[in-house]
């Protein structure tokens, strides 16, 4: 899913690779990219399940407006992953409801 080369944008610039976890699974991404981008690149599309109907949500606006992409990051719920820069060692988890069930 990564665009390493692009007809207009050219080669992607080298970025520092970091490791993080998604629901406990180890993954890699680039430091400073939005958490949502690292997840997308790894094929993760479900970010959370709503409280009411347990219906899945993923990235919708990608600019921090819609809150569809919120997850539990480092134990803190409701983090908008599309505008949160990825850091080395981050623990990212699927959010259920308002995050009250986050471990």
């Amino acid at each position: 899913m990564r665009l390493t080369n692009h007809p207009i944008l050219g080669e992607a610039e080298a970025r520092r690779e970091v490791t993080f976890t998604f629901d406990g699974r180890a993954m890699t991404g680039f430091e400073g990219e939005p958490v949502a981008a690292a997840l997308k690149a790894a094929g993760v599309v479900v970010h959370r399940y709503t409280k009411k109907n347990r219906s899945p949500r993923g990235v919708f606006c990608a600019i921090g407006r819609c809150t569809d992409c919120v997850m539990t990051v480092n134990g803190r719920p409701n983090v908008r992953t599309c505008v949160t820069p990825l850091e080395d060692g981050m623990a990212v988890a699927t959010q259920y409801g308002a995050g009250e069930e986050a471990k």
Partner: protein, 526 residues
């Protein structure tokens, strides 16, 4: 509380232009943007812009953004990022949330350039992961450099849907179809034709019946609508897609203006601030510029920004009334020229059936996204001459003329205003340099040599995909509708800094296909 001469909300093309204009006159200017990066929509726009030279036509949006930011910063403008403006109050006080604290600022003038947000469309399954805004897809692929999906359905055939659709192809995604409930393609014909010739089908008068999938999109069902927008039973079609991209229009982000108490008016499609010609709202020295004052283009947003910036510094006494008048005349004429043509904001979506030149407007282009082969010859950009010649398939009046400026031989004329159709002047003697092909923002110019010997013809097309074909590579030539026509061997691939990343691919086809073949694909011939 910190005071500035001019405070600008939003660092998009409108905001940065307002800031640069004001700072150039000597004002102390601060710009606040909630984003981590400046530029607003500009940095996602990797295509060459329309317009004329003074509107930065032919330059890719992303490069315009970089230029504008450098200009503003060079003039001493302070740009605060990650700084959402939460409130605008009387006496032009603004409240800004910084990472560490909420701070108050006061501007002697304030320019609100908050842009627009995407409209949504609801249908069964619309909340599933995989349904995204077109802007989100752009952010993912052009900023984050991650593919938004593998196979995508585009909902909306306006310029945003068409441009993002093309960008999806450039990112290596498949585009299953462009779907629009309206009976006509909403955006420029040249943008639609770029997609159609690669084989993307258009479904006009169609809407989404439902998105399929339990945890993510696995497919989509669309159906044809009748006059009352209801789906006609039996017309449903299903596509295997993992992504549905929504591009059904934008709405001005007027929250801040509304909260401040600026007068708003209902323009039929949404609420817009009531503004004077220079952008001043009902609040003294509070200006609105760019998409927030009415959805248009980055080109017009930049001029509106400059107009607001110029008006503000005049009010604050930085420039004389005479200097302002001169500048305003310049800016207003630039804005006027952009607002012409068949898609002009004043036309409100009413499509004429003839061009300004009195030629028929292609119904095929409007309903299927491509010109019918039989229609092409009637346009002034298409004339049969011996040897290599440009074939300009630009058939709607749109504000654009870089083709004219590109030709060193003067073969291309756009006369009587920039919305006129480009004319090929066959007497000028085309040298086959290809500069017009690369410069055309709509990728609608081709070079054709009808007779290169042995019953063959050569066609040169603009090509912005990877991998680039190599000389001698065999594939198939595709028609304007994307149908495979005949085997075609690539006989030339040209790249040059002057082409700005658009490659020129020349392929050889039997003569009868010279005026039919408009794309090339690597593919075994069936």
């Amino acid at each position: 509380m910190t005071r500035y001469d001019v405070i600008v909300v939003g660092a998009g093309p409108a905001g940065l232009s307002a800031a640069a204009e004001a700072a150039a006159a000597g004002a102390r200017v601060a710009v606040f943007d909630e984003n981590a990066k400046p530029g607003g929509q500009l940095f996602k726009q990797i295509h060459k812009f329309f317009g004329a030279k003074e509107h930065k036509a032919k330059i890719r949006g992303v490069n315009i953004g970089a230029e504008l930011l450098a200009e503003a910063e060079g003039l001493g403008v302070t740009v605060f990022l990650n700084a959402p403006v939460m409130g605008l109050y009387k006496d032009r006080e603004v409240l800004v949330r910084h990472a560490d604290a909420v701070r108050r600022y006061k501007g002697d003038a304030v320019v609100v350039a908050t842009g627009a947000s995407e409209n949504m469309l609801t249908f069964p399954g619309w909340t599933l992961p995989g349904v995204t805004g077109a802007g989100a897809a752009q952010t993912m692929m052009n900023i984050n450099r991650v593919k938004p999906g593998h196979r995508v359905l585009m909902l909306g055939s306006g310029n945003v849907g068409l441009v993002v659709g093309f960008q999806l192809l450039q990112a290596g995604c498949e585009l299953a179809a462009v779907v629009d409930a309206a009976p006509r393609v909403g955006g420029y014909g040249v943008h639609a034709a770029k997609l159609a010739r690669t084989g993307v089908p258009f479904y006009l008068s169609h809407t989404v019946v439902r998105a399929e999938g339990t945890d993510r999109v696995t497919g989509v069902v669309v159906g044809q609508v009748d006059d009352t927008w209801n789906v006609i039973p039996g017309t449903e079609k299903r596509f295997d897609v993992d992504t549905i991209c929504i591009a059904v229009g934008l709405s001005s982000s007027t929250q801040l203006l509304k909260m401040a108490g600026c007068a708003l008016r209902d323009d039929g499609a949404g609420w817009l601030p009531v503004c004077a010609d220079d952008g001043e709202t009902s609040m003294a020295r509070v200006y609105a510029a760019g998409d927030v004052s009415g959805i248009e283009e980055a080109s017009s947003a930049m001029i509106e920004g400059r107009i607001a910036g110029a008006a503000a510094v005049r009010k604050l006494g930085f420039v004389t009334e005479e200097a302002l008048a001169v500048r305003m005349a310049e800016l207003e004429s630039a804005l006027e020229s952009l607002r012409g043509g068949m898609f002009a904001p004043g036309r409100r979506g009413k499509i004429p059936d003839k061009t300004d030149e009195g030629l028929p407007i292609s119904a095929s282009l409007l309903s299927r996204g491509y010109l019918d082969d039989a229609e092409v010859d009637q346009y002034p950009g298409v004339k049969k001459t011996a040897g290599i010649r440009p074939v300009i398939e630009c058939t709607q009046n749109i504000p654009c003329n870089p083709c004219r400026d590109a030709c060193p031989k003067g073969c291309i004329k756009v006369e009587g205003g920039i919305v006129s159709l480009p004319v090929y002047d066959e007497k000028a003697g085309c040298a086959g340099c290809g500069l017009c092909v690369a410069a055309c923002s709509g990728q609608s110019i081709f070079l054709v040599d009808d007779d290169t010997g042995g019953g063959a013809a050569e066609v040169t097309i603009p090509y912005e995909f990877l991998p680039l074909p190599g000389e001698g590579e065999r594939g198939v030539a595709l028609s304007r509708s994307g149908a495979a026509l005949c085997p075609a061997e690539v006989v030339g691939v040209k790249q040059s800094p002057a082409y700005d990343k658009t490659a020129l691919v020349t392929f050889r086809v039997p003569q009868e296909f010279a005026m039919k073949a408009r794309f090339w694909r690597k593919e075994a011939v069936v």
